[in-house]
């Protein structure tokens, strides 16, 4: 049986912020601000965070999973390229994610900053190609564990 090696998917997240589009946009354009909300997280430590916020510019983030996380010691890297920037209105990037040495996905990410009565509606659209070949046994195991935990939570409501 043939197995496809790439799966395509799109998802949209909308988030409302009680702040002007200018302020929300600034949190994407200013490296110190962006690092705070973008690169953080409990399961991994940020080892490198580079930004070059202009069309054609590249970002590079490397995080390493901590002990007690799904993949302790493994690096998670992100290469981003800015495709389009319209100040206070829109940012479009193309990015890849790698786990260790393996690339696991390539995506187009679109951020739209829509003025709203009470601030800004951020509309995020990710169009992703996930490389199934990147799925190692650890990831598989972790995926199942997570799934079961979520289900247990759902059922205990």
């Amino acid at each position: 049986m043939q197995t496809l090696s790439v799966t395509h998917s799109t998802f949209v997240i909308e988030h409302n912020y009680p702040a002007t589009p200018e302020r929300v946009f600034a949190a994407f354009a200013d490296p110190a601000k962006k690092r705070r909300w973008y690169a953080g997280g409990e399961s991994s430590e940020v080892e490198e965070f580079q930004m070059d916020f202009r069309v054609g510019g590249n970002d590079y983030t490397r995080r390493r999973f901590r002990e007690g996380s799904p993949f302790p010691g493994v690096a998670l890297t992100n290469h981003t390229n800015y495709q389009d920037i319209v100040p206070h209105r829109r940012i479009v990037t193309a990015y890849t994610m790698s786990l260790g040495e393996k690339r696991i996905s390539a995506s187009l990410a679109t951020f739209e900053f829509l003025p709203a009565e009470n601030g800004t509606n951020l509309v995020f659209t990710e169009q992703a190609a996930f490389f199934e070949g990147a799925d190692g046994p650890q990831i598989r195991e972790q995926g199942w564990r997570k799934l079961l935990e979520q289900l247990a939570k759902e059922l205990s409501r």
Partner: protein, 110 residues
């Protein structure tokens, strides 16, 4: 699409039972024989076999008989890898946008 072969209602029915969840959890680490599965769960072989039948029908588990030994393993097509990646990716961005919200509630220094 592999995942379309799986009936989601069957999957949820199969996982709705704590013993069957325990079986899937054990098999997600490594394949096991029916006997090895039954021991730590402290249930009869017959009960394990019944649970395995439900899990097999749902597409979550596959069993193979070699001689007198039946080995059970997770059927990876049960829920596609890509779906799990996607869930992870979405959750990551949602957490980021929440943190951005926290940052934006701080007074602007400019």
């Amino acid at each position: 699409m592999l995942s379309q072969k799986v009936n989601i209602n069957r999957v949820f029915h199969a996982l709705g039972d704590p013993t069957r969840r325990a079986i899937v959890e054990k098999l997600s680490i490594r394949p096991l024989t029916v006997t090895r599965l039954a021991q730590p769960l402290d249930i009869t072989l017959a009960a394990v076999v019944q649970h395995l039948q439900v899990l097999e029908k749902s597409g979550l588990v596959r069993t193979e008989k070699a001689g007198r030994v039946r080995t059970c393993r997770i059927e990876p097509a049960g829920l596609s890898v890509a779906e799990r990646w996607l869930d992870d990716r979405r959750a990551t961005w949602e957490r980021r946008f929440d943190r951005l919200g926290d940052l934006l509630t701080e007074p602007d220094e400019n």
